[in-house]
């Protein structure tokens, strides 16, 4: 469903991403791994429309999406999280989820001012969906707290729930396990697998720690210094000499 072909991104003289290719099938978890500074997040920024790639193509469900505005890409069903959690910290947890459903709501001003039945019904539906996902990620008790007051692990989960209420087809997670303890990481991995199994969502995952993604990924792409290094099943990657060298060479 997603195909990235020879993606390149140049900032002035710096070639941050060079000829990276990637494809994701339906109901698949694909990881992009690589050492810090390898250009993983830049790939994401191109995919989610924040950067306009300087070369290559991105096809989502057969349509070219590279260079489209970010909000349009999101509306097509490609939604991302951020390396450093980006919540609306002064809004309540449930409101974070309502904002994410903005385009599903009745945003007609007049309807809102008059409180038409359609407006109310949609608002209620959005609340229900928010409640469903809060329960799913274990945050229902915190629904009315400010998002900024949640613990770090809770914030991570809320960010994923916020993506899920938009009903995405492809979820892009940027180092979702960063800053979590082993138990939380385990829980998170279960959640990601269940998103795939139970909600038919494809997942692209960025991680710099290989061991975290080995268990859950269907396929793994390794990039190093902006260039593709290897791709294959976790087993193949584990035995790939180039990958071992890149990782050992770094550490």
């Amino acid at each position: 469903m997603l195909e990235v072909q020879n993606l390149s991104m140049r900032f002035g003289g710096l070639l941050a991403v060079d000829q990276v290719s990637l494809n994701v099938q339906e109901r698949e978890i694909v990881s992009i791994i690589g050492p810090n500074g390898a250009g993983k997040t830049t790939v994401f920024n191109c995919m989610s429309g924040f950067y306009k790639p300087t070369g290559g193509k991105i096809l989502f469900e057969g349509k070219e999406v590279q260079g489209k505005p970010d909000y349009r890409i999101s509306r097509l069903g490609m939604v991302r999280t951020f390396q450093h959690v980006r919540l609306f910290t002064q809004m309540s947890v449930v409101e974070n989820l309502l904002v994410a459903q903005h385009r599903h709501l009745n945003t007609n001003m007049l309807a809102g001012l008059l409180g038409t039945p359609n407006y109310r019904a949609r608002e209620q539906k959005a609340l229900d969906r928010a409640a469903y996902w809060l329960e799913r990620v274990g945050l229902l008790e915190s629904a009315n707290r400010d998002a900024g007051n949640l613990s770090y692990g809770q914030q991570r989960r809320l960010e994923i729930a916020r993506c899920m209420v938009t009903e995405p087809k492809l979820l892009m997670l940027d180092e979702p396990a960063a800053g979590l303890n082993p138990a939380e990481t385990q829980e998170l991995n279960q959640l990601i697998v269940s998103l795939k199994e139970d909600y038919n969502v494809s997942v692209v995952l960025i991680e710099h720690d290989m061991s975290l993604v080995m268990d859950i990924s269907d396929r793994i792409n390794v990039i190093n210094q902006g260039r593709p290094l290897a791709c294959g099943t976790p087993e193949e990657i584990r035995q790939n000499d180039d990958v071992i060298k890149a990782y050992l060479g770094e550490e």
């Binding site: 980006r86 309540s92 449930v94 409101e95 904002v99 385009r103 001003m109 809102g112 938009t166």
Partner: protein
């Protein structure tokens, strides 16, 4: 350490002298073609040196001062307390607002005509500030040319009444819609600019509109302005001594009471009051609607909001247009109240005053904005000698607010939607 403090204190005192003495202590006076330089009054000179002395003392003993300040009770008694529970706070705020409205309803019948006139002006400022509050406080867009939309509303009414004899009630929605359209058209290209650039561009737009009004003499009358703008009517009844409009009757004759100029003033005041209440209610409603959440989300974290499918331009544009719409509303009322308008009423300073109200009132908070509008408009009237210093104090207050409490005196808390679940 101590000598270092002294040196710094002497330095600061000298700085105070340098920036105050030449400008304050020496006065230029033009006498015909010649200019003479005279010393200021002794009291001013003394004040300058006292100020320098005060700066010296403050800087020299700064450490002990800040120690003392720490011991003083907090300026804001609420600072340490848990914020009031949301439902309670909302209730309290609505009670205060209702109280203000009820008080305002009786106001014109107990005070003098001049006070009613002033109160009408306060209401116009409240409308303007509430509208700008949507743009600055809720959506986080600094609009320095807000007064342009106010001008569009006022001039729409003035011009239409001059050329087509339109009535106030027809002009009111037209002026607001036209101002809103202007907001939409101007906002569309500029809203993708970064915050501070946006501020300057809107300032430029505001100035362009004012210059056009000033120079397009054939249409707008230029600096001479437009007069003879009609007052509102009540179901076709006019409030003047003689009936001017065709098919209209006069208020005092219909009710068989003696003519009084006060009727008109009070009627205009009541209209402004109703419109201000409507403005407040509509904007309050907006805050709880999806669009209100989108404003806040975009203001808090634009990148996250965009990643969730919110169109930056569409959301910002809605705030900009709504703000402009209410400015047009206020402009129409202003034109009707004055009966005469000229570009002089729509200078940058006016934008700055409205911005000052929003900033002082706590950006985003309606009650705060209303109280600030009342204070800013009425205080200079209460103390005439004070009015000279009005803008000086505004400027200083804006700086102080940014340094001390950028979220305003009554910090804003948008009413959050709650999730109520029965388990």
């Amino acid at each position: 350490m101590a000598s270092n403090n002294y040196r710094h204190a002497v330095f600061c005192a000298i700085v105070t002298l340098i920036i105050s003495f030449p400008i304050l202590g020496l006065n230029l006076e033009a006498q015909g073609v010649n200019i003479t330089l005279t010393g200021a009054k002794t009291s001013t000179i003394v004040a300058i040196f006292l100020a320098a002395g005060a700066v010296f003392v403050f800087q020299a003993f700064r450490d002990s001062f800040s120690g003392l300040l720490g011991k003083l009770p907090k300026l804001n008694p609420l600072a340490d307390k848990e914020p009031m529970e949301q439902s309670k706070r909302v209730k309290l705020e609505s009670w205060i607002l209702t109280g203000i409205v009820v008080l305002a309803l009786f106001w014109p019948f107990v005070v003098s005509r001049g006070s009613v006139d002033l109160a009408t002006l306060v209401l116009i400022y409240i409308m303007l500030a509430l509208g700008l509050n949507v743009v600055v406080g809720l959506a986080g867009l600094l609009d320095l040319g807000y007064v342009a939309f106010y001008a569009v509303g006022a001039y729409t009414f003035a011009l239409l009444s001059q050329y087509t004899g339109i009535s106030f009630w027809m002009a009111l929605p037209l002026g607001a819609l036209l101002a809103g359209t202007f907001g939409l058209l101007l906002g569309f290209p500029v809203l993708r600019l970064r915050g501070d650039y946006l501020a300057i561009v809107t300032l430029g737009f505001g100035e362009i509109i004012r210059i056009l009004l000033n120079n397009w003499t054939s249409l707008t009358g230029g600096p001479n302005g437009i007069g003879g703008i009609p007052e509102p009517t009540l179901f076709g009844m006019e409030f003047g001594r003689r009936v001017k409009g065709e098919g209209n009757t006069s208020f005092h004759e219909t009710f068989g009471i003696a003519y009084s100029g006060e009727h008109k003033v009070i009627f205009l005041y009541l209209i402004a009051l109703v419109l201000a209440v409507i403005t407040a209610l509509i904007i309050r409603r907006f805050m709880r609607m999806p669009v209100g959440r989108a404003w806040e989300a975009l203001r808090e974290d634009e990148i996250a909001a965009r990643s969730l499918g919110l169109s930056r331009t569409a959301v910002k544009l809605s705030a900009f247009t709504i703000g402009a719409f209410f400015a047009g509303f206020a402009g129409t009322v202003f034109a009707s109240k004055q009966g005469f308008i000229s570009p002089e009423s729509f200078v940058f300073l006016e934008s700055a005053i409205i911005l000052a109200i929003v900033v002082l009132g706590g950006m985003g908070s309606q009650l705060g904005v209303i109280l600030a509008a009342i204070a800013v408009t009425i205080l200079p009237e209460l103390a005439r000698e004070f009015s000279e210093y009005r803008m000086l104090i505004f400027g200083a207050a804006m700086v102080l607010m940014m340094v001390w409490r950028p979220q305003g005196l009554l910090p804003m808390r948008r009413i959050h939607i709650k999730l109520n679940r029965q388990e």
